[in-house]
């Protein structure tokens, strides 16, 4: 059954930029939504004076701002600060607030390596690949004990995936191999083979299969999955739009084509950037 909630506070003309997630927040509801869905990225580093002032002046929530300021000053538990934010308006219901509090407590009690990995995973989900890679590499650098069986295998695997998403296939294949050496997972070997397939010229790739660095069975499976993905992609909105534009002849369409590919380029550049683009 649907519902309507009156928005709390104002919608900010100037958003608050959350550097960790490269996202701009415009309202109280977006703040709650962001925190609730990104608990691994919520920490004291977000609760700056700049953030509190933005709550006070741009969202016109002086009560909430004052309380957060005081709670930070008194070094109040992070969970309680989060609860205070959520309880300022009924955007999240009581069960959701309790669930978030329980999850945040679990997160805060996890080993640092696990927190880092989950942060990295969340960055990769948000297409912030460089940020994700930084977290994974830091885990490897710290060389702690395995948080659980297969932990480091997962970290290497996810490192490989983050690199692959940025078309850095050679690096990806090296990380996949590291992961496979730690835990012999057939899917990881398949990912390794796919990274070679996508990153190497056809002759070199064929030579590797001949020399047994990747089995023919794996190579066939990779081709099958690539074909499936091509077909899936062809039926997608973006590919159809591109085909429509390409099918039309003439200079007029060039601008449209550049617009489509321009969007892809911008998205890719955004995803691979690691530096902060500016805070509020």
């Amino acid at each position: 059954m649907g519902g309507i909630w009156l928005c709390h506070g104002k919608t900010a003309a100037v958003p608050y930029y959350v550097e960790q997630a490269d996202v701009r927040l415009y309202s109280y509801e977006e703040v709650c939504y962001f925190i609730y869905h990104n608990l691994y990225l919520f920490g004291r580093e977000m609760l700056t004076e700049s953030f509190v002032r933005w709550l006070e002046r741009d969202l016109e929530l002086p009560g909430l701002a004052g309380d957060i300021r005081e709670m930070v000053r008194q070094n109040t538990e992070l969970v309680h600060i989060m609860e205070r934010i959520f309880e300022d308006a009924p955007y999240l219901n009581a069960q959701e607030v309790q669930k978030a509090a329980k999850m945040l407590r679990t997160i805060l009690n996890e080993p640092e390596s696990v927190k880092r990995k989950k942060r990295g995973d969340r960055y990769v989900e948000l297409h912030r690949y460089e940020a994700g890679i930084r977290e994974y590499r830091q885990i490897i650098k710290e060389e702690g004990a395995e948080a659980y069986d297969g932990f480091y295998a997962q970290v290497y695997h996810n490192l490989g995936t983050a690199c692959a998403r940025m078309f850095r296939f050679k690096e990806a294949s090296e990380y996949y191999m590291q992961s496979y050496r730690l835990k012999k997972d057939p899917e990881v070997m398949l990912a390794f083979t796919a990274a070679l397939r996508l990153g190497l010229p056809a002759e070199l790739y064929a030579g590797l299969i001949q020399r047994g660095q990747a089995t023919k069975q794996q190579a066939d499976e990779v081709e099958k999955r690539l074909q499936e993905l091509r077909e899936l992609n062809r039926s997608g909105a973006e590919a159809q739009e591109l085909e429509r534009v390409l099918a039309r002849a003439g200079e007029d369409e060039r601008g449209e084509l550049l617009a489509i590919t321009g969007d892809w380029k911008r998205e890719f550049r955004k995803n691979i950037q690691g530096a902060c683009v500016g805070s509020r």
């Binding site: 309507i4 909630w5 928005c7 219901n93 009581a94």
Partner: protein, 354 residues
Amino acid sequence: MTRLAELLRRHFGCNITEEDIRLSFVGSDGEPMTVEIPANHEKEDCAVAGACEPEQVQAFVLTAKDPESDAAAECVEKIKSAGIPDTAIYVQDYLESFVHFVVHQEPDLWTHAVVLFTLEQGVLRSYEMIMKRQTRPYLVQVFPGPVKVFDGDDGMDEAFAELAMNYFRKKLVSSVFLAGEAFEGNWMKRSLKVLCAGRRVFQGKNLFSKGACYAALSFTKEKRASGGEEVPFIYLGERNTKSFIGILTEARIGRECREVMSAGIFWRTCHVVCEVIADDAEEIALVVQSAYTGESRQEVIPIPGLPKRPKRTTRLKLTFTCKSVRCCHVLVEDAGFGEFFAPSGLSWEQDISI
């Protein structure tokens, strides 16, 4: 522009007549003071009279005999072109300014009815302000009373006294206000005795612009420096909306009705915006409540076709404007959810009777 004040002032009441411009703003004692600018000044230059930068004005209330006239609309355009923000400009009629003036005086003056007399070009008009205190905010109405056309100056005092005696018969009147320069001079002898019997009487020529200045403070919820408590009231004038509009929303427990548009707004300049979060909703339920009777009814605005998004990630912007004093137009627009979900471009509209 002429610099008329050293200090920054941000709340203004302005009465533009054929003869002059009366501009009131808050003085150093926290009460409105008025400057009179002769009509031969360029009216657009005098919109703010240099008391502060136009874009810093928080509320500029134009008061006019007929706020719906072309002349009033022209004044508003000149005020805008002086650089005062759109959202800071309000328009009201003289009676509404009168009400704002009265409620900002000491409460003893409006315990019972308050009477206003105006005298212009030989025509004496009377009005009675009644405040109903059974509700909060209080409801205020102004009813026209007897009118007397004087044929020359002879017998004005007697005629006024006669009119006042009949008008006040069986009425409890706390105070009387005489607005206009025509009441100056010593011609009121018997009439003044009648008016003053058991009431306080005030005479002045800047009542409307000062009232508009008080209105400017009220509209921006500014407290007067004197620390007087704001009196919550709704003015139900001829040109003011007569109903409250609320929206049924989810609360921590159950549902509640939250007011989004008050009664008592001048219908022409009514422009109220609010935002809601919709979760799998197909309609918005509004509650329209009569300020007179307190009776309420529901009005439903269907919003079919909202894009499917995760829970509570659709922001809807509702804009309320009036097509007439009895008809409110509601525009609902999908505003997306910040950077998470872009707006779909969908909108829905409906007229509701108020």
